[in-house]
Subunit: 157 residues, 2 copies
């Protein structure tokens, strides 16, 4: 099922599609927690991948990885719209990145259908291609004491 290119890196394939209320980048909130209440979004998993959803129902939160299909290519350093200093792209969650992979920790509100998940806390565009679903594990993924660097003063929640 997996193909690799000549550099040994995986060739990506969409496993589903994410529906959100955000039709343009200007519609997207700064992060998935900014809107209160956060809209419930639907993630449709393509039929071929539905068997991979078994045992997912018992997790309260998931990590979604998706393709940032509207990202602009390239600058490694830029001044974020809500800041006044140039920042390296890897110190930001901006959607334009050398590898346009997006990531969100979402609340999993159960299945709307066997191939459709209800989730909250997305900030990506409508029709974003889904690449992976992973269970969120507080034992490895939760760091309450983490410091937010230059983003601390812009914290929205």
């Amino acid at each position: 099922m997996t193909n690799r290119d000549s550099s040994g890196l995986p060739m990506l394939q969409p496993i589903g599609r994410i529906a959100t209320p955000f039709r343009t980048l200007a519609d997207c909130p700064r992060n998935g927690r900014q809107l209160d209440p956060a809209p419930v979004c639907e993630v449709t998993v393509f039929e071929a991948f539905v068997p991979g959803l078994g045992s997912l129902e018992s997790f309260s939160h998931l990590i979604l990885i998706y393709g940032l299909h509207a990202g602009r290519p390239g600058e490694l350093v830029f001044t974020p719209p809500f800041d006044d200093q140039p920042r390296g792209v890897f110190a930001t969650r901006a959607p334009w990145r050398p590898n346009p992979l997006g990531l969100a920790v979402v609340a999993f509100d159960g299945f709307a259908a066997p191939d459709r998940l209800k989730v909250r806390y997305l900030d990506c565009l409508d029709r974003t291609p889904l690449l992976d679903i992973k269970p969120y594990l507080p034992s490895t993924d939760c760091i309450p004491e983490a410091t937010m660097g230059w983003l601390a003063k812009h914290r929205t929640r």
Copy 2:
């Protein structure tokens, strides 16, 4: 800098390489928190991408996304080695996935050189290709109350 294939999905490029003590899949711990103390690993960022590291120094934790270059292709349902029930791949953190993208939340122990980051809590193979670095933000990424589903009884920490 970013290329896309005909489906609109990003073509991945390595931005660096991850060095760990784990030379084979059998060497890899079950997760990055299993070894105590966790070994300090080095992440080398290729020269072209080093400018993107600006402002990273003030974050205590990072999210690394990497290519699972030794993953085996394909089964969507399998019985994990430490469990006795078949599980859907998306309810696991197993390295064989439809899109072989790995993810780790790591402690960032600073720079060993301008292009080399010291990090802890990796469980991936030595020489894993790095795809992205994102700042870890407790405001969006930390869910202490998340439930671990079928993995709860296998929790290592």
